[in-house]
Structure formats: structure tokens, C-alpha cells
Symmetry: C2
Subunit: 88 residues, 2 copies
């Protein structure tokens, strides 16, 4: 298996920005506190990540596909929590 | 000037995920409330965005360079606010 420098840097970027969201998802799930989360921010971010994922496929970038596949789930969960817990 | 479909999708992704952070920066600057922001999350995210910016230059991706140049500033501001306002 061959690794090039570009993909090592891209993979490092992917891992860091992907795992960064996990504490936020856990915290929101645990506390059910969504007051400080902005709904327009979550919507814009989710749609943006869907586009980054498509762009990753178009560029054949393994790092972008990996990172954005996970972040699309994290951001969808945050959006779901925001809508669900805001109703109460 | 020539546009291809890849760069239109990438640019849309870049614009959405970049502007998504601006309300968070504004809110944090205005309220000085950083209690719900996680320092490890902000650190991981900032370092990750620096790597995405380098990766964007290596792939010669205008959308990645544009988006991550702005997000590196947004995330650095949030990190600065977190450290500054946590001391009080």
C-alpha cells in the first residue's frame, strides 16, 4: 500500500476535524441543552458538509470522503437534537 | 474565466461551511459566554483546519484554500475567546 505526503496531511486534517465534533455531539446528547446552538448554523453546516462529501468524491480524495462521511452524521445528529429538544 | 462543475460544488460547500461559523463567532464575542464551548474541541478543530488549508494548497483546490483561510481565523478567534473569557 502506497502513502503520499498529500494524503498523510489530508488524513491528519480529516481525523482532527472529525473527532473534534464528537465531544459536542456527546455533550448535547447527554445534557439535552441546545439553547446555545443556532439552528441556521446547523442547517448551513449540514448542507455544506453534504456538498463537501460530493466534492470529495469528484476529486477522488480519500481523506475528504472519510471525514465528511462521519461529519455528515455528527451534524445531522446535532440538527436532530436541536429540533427535538427545542420543542420541549 | 472557466468554471467546472467540481469547483461550483466545492465553492458552494466552502461558502456554506464558512459562513456557518460566523454566527457562532458573533454570538460568543457578543455574549462572552464560553461555558458550552469545549477547549479540546476548539484546539483539535483549529489544528485540523490548518492541516486542511495545507492540503488545499497541495491539491491546488481553490475552494479548500478559500474556505479554510476564513475558517482558520474563525476558529482561532473562538479559541482566543475561550481562553480569554474562561479566566474571568
Amino acid at each position: 500500500m502506497h502513502f503520499d505526503v498529500n494524503e498523510i496531511i489530508g488524513f491528519g486534517a480529516a481525523v482532527l476535524t472529525t473527532i473534534a465534533f464528537l465531544p459536542q455531539v456527546y455533550k448535547t446528547w447527554k445534557t439535552k441543552d441546545v439553547s446555545s446552538l443556532s439552528l441556521p448554523m446547523l442547517l448551513l453546516f449540514f448542507i455544506g458538509i453534504v456538498l463537501w462529501l460530493i466534492y470529495g468524491f469528484l476529486l477522488h480524495s480519500p481523506s475528504m470522503i472519510f471525514a465528511n462521511s462521519i461529519t455528515v452524521i455528527s451534524s445531522l445528529l446535532l440538527l436532530y437534537f436541536k429540533i427535538k429538544y427545542s420543542k420541549n
